[in-house]
Symmetry: D2
Subunit: 255 residues, 4 copies
């Protein structure tokens, strides 16, 4: 019996009126093995979720309400897939404690649902052991207010871990004169460059170099749709991952 032949998994989306939420509703509806049973907007009572018999809820709301939403879901034995940012260490600790007593309930909190971004970070950490040079170029639309991107910062940290594991020292760099700062930001010892360009969405290039050799990993997100495979993967897998998982990579088969 294939997944699609079983009764479909019953899914609720909280924050359904937002752009990510609307996209998630469409993606759940389009998946033959999932059924969208509740769409909650701002002000809607969470009881709608239990009334609809949802087994999994996707939270794509805002930092101020996500912790409260997830607490309620766990209390009611509903698995949660959370894309909202803004979780504090205290919030995560409280959630872990609650889950310790909630037999079998799973929560996935993922700051980035783009599978490609997660793969890029993981591969970058592995490759970093083997290359003398490593730099990151992240490229986004020109309306982005901060530089470099959070994904680039996380990738730099992953590269730094890989370099440490490989016993590598600082990257080679003979630059003496750089009056305007062309060498970019240095994050965890890794140079990071931020390009802002009309027509682009969200892109990351990780470049490694050794004698006579270059190795590159690149991820391009052209559209919010690129996050949906990661959301659906989380929805399908959360019930078999009881307790708290932070980061989509915990659900990917990356060995």
């Amino acid at each position: 019996m294939t997944a699609a032949e079983q009764s479909p998994l019953r899914v609720a989306v909280i924050g359904a009126a937002g752009r990510m939420g609307a996209e998630a509703c469409r993606a759940v509806e389009a998946a033959p093995d999932l059924e969208l049973v509740a769409e909650l907007g701002r002000g809607d009572a969470l009881d709608l979720i239990t009334e609809a018999g949802a087994q999994v809820a996707v939270d794509l709301t805002v930092p101020s309400v996500t912790a409260e939403n997830v607490r309620w879901l766990v209390e009611h034995g509903i698995h949660a897939v959370v894309g909202t940012t803004g979780w504090t260490e205290e919030g995560l600790d409280a959630l872990r404690e609650q889950l310790a007593g909630a037999d079998g309930v799973g929560v996935l909190i993922a700051p980035n649902f783009a599978i490609g971004a997660v793969l890029a970070m993981r591969f970058a950490e592995t490759a970093a052991r083997y290359y003398e040079s490593a730099e990151i170029i992240e490229m986004h639309h020109p309306n982005k207010v901060d530089a470099p991107s959070g994904t680039a910062r996380h990738t730099a940290a992953a590269i730094a871990r890989g370099r440490a594991a490989g016993g590598l020292g600082p990257v080679p760099d003979a630059t003496e004169k750089d009056p305007e700062g062309a060498r970019g930001a240095i994050v965890d010892g890794v140079h990071v460059h931020a390009v802002r360009q009309r027509g682009l969405v969200a892109h990351e290039v990780v470049q490694f170099g050794g004698p006579g050799e270059q190795f590159q990993i690149r991820h391009d997100s052209f559209d919010r749709a690129s996050f949906m495979p990661g959301v659906l993967l989380g929805v399908r897998a959360v019930s078999s991952h009881p307790g708290l998982t932070v980061g989509l990579d915990g659900y990917l088969e990356l060995d």
Copy 2:
């Protein structure tokens, strides 16, 4: 005590007069933890290796003599790192049998010593589970006589394994009219394109695509020097990998 403070590992190079062999001699000499104790060209007696007290030998010769060389090395308890191609299944089986009785001797046979090519193949297999589309573009100097490259064929096979593991069917492709064959070769269900361009050496791009998203892995080999980190990694690690290992990936930490 660091590796460099220990007595250096004693290394012989067989095929030292060839281009790869000469490069390997230079790389061994430049490494503080290795000592080049013998360089053998065509016609030199293998006894030079034992007389020089070599602990590891690098074989970069030709298909017609490599199997004989390695048999001799194992008989004399010398670890072997082999870059020569042309090994048959029978040859490998005979070697495995010999090694079963040669306590602690290690042999690494690696068709490709470019760490980047090995990483590209491994990462491609992992990423392939998660993307609907996958294609390979390999690019080489225009003197190459065969297309596509062996590396591209191996990468296509790796992608096919990844797709199977991820439960994916055929790649989407609505092409109806392609009179001149612009869609390229199909290897294990994966389209492979071969570019031949003056100024290039050996390059591989693996492109994955999903809704609103692209993921790329790229390896550029500009110079034979790019194979040397892989050769040295093999030389250093072969004594702690008794028996036969085929492929450098068995020596890399790729979890």
Copy 3:
């Protein structure tokens, strides 16, 4: 007095209900120096255009009606910007004849309104004089039915003209074994590779190579919006280009 301070140019769009037409309507409305005065769908009478006092009409209809539409526009002294394909040599000749007697009326027929595609083709022709090797990789969404793309064919022709002007012979290529056709299509002596990938839209890479060197031109179209700057440039410039112009490059300053 800037363009925006003058009375805006009055523009009609024929084929306004199609995808390109709808995009063109939005683009005209958003431009401060243009005024959208008529939107015609299938079956609407062309008289609406003169009644609305349009000075320029954009034709984004279908091959079967475009020639008739343009004849009517020229008769009524209205400049035309035409994106519809399917014009025959006979059709173009008849139009030229009509325009010879239509003092000052301009018609632009452009098979491709993407300024970047036009620039890529022009630059490719110039660069082709100076490089021994030249290949094209075009990449599109997997629903495309033909390969290679028309743009790639035109670019190959442009490269062939450049090579001839530079006195270059055939590209170097030692390929002897290519059983599956990995070397792609050969169009006007130029190898062309077609990639089909979910998530992509329309992309072209032109690669040139010489000893120790590579030169690349790349154009990425992520969205139909990328055609609008070309449409608007045509709308603004058509009245100062009387007679027939085929191809947007006649309007660009490319010296």
Copy 4:
């Protein structure tokens, strides 16, 4: 009669012992239509050039002697192709004055003999008219002491000229928080990013962006050999360009 059937052009190389000079000697020797008649190293008398009957001399020396060399060449009616940097405005003016009285003698002073770099700059200036966003990424080996590269600075200036000609204002950029300087240098209003990576030589990427669109020009120099086609083009064409020409683009057919 083809060029190769005429008597070959007699060429001298000054600075023949340097790396660029040695490469130039090899390139001249390999060209069937050129004859290498004199190779001068440090301390060699310039008279060797006239004694050898050279028609064109290539100066690849050092800033302190190049002006003196060229003055001597012009006095003796020998055309000069100069790759040495360090010419001052005064030096150029003095040379122009001398050339005004030296009937038919040509001098080419080219800061960059890579045809690709010259093409990239020229194409960038043209494309810049048509795109809202423009950024430069230059990539070099990690031993380079200054950032950004001179080529990137010249390209930024070319883009600024193109934007001015196209009536474009500042590039769009909403960045508010960039504590570590990830947005790179700003040269003539264009963001410039400098990557330093082992294994690379000299590379430049120019990226343009508009709504739904990206346009890129990329030049890769893998080897000093990449400068030789430009040197040979200069040697062959200098006699038909009397007077002073600064920049190889004056010799290219770039319309």
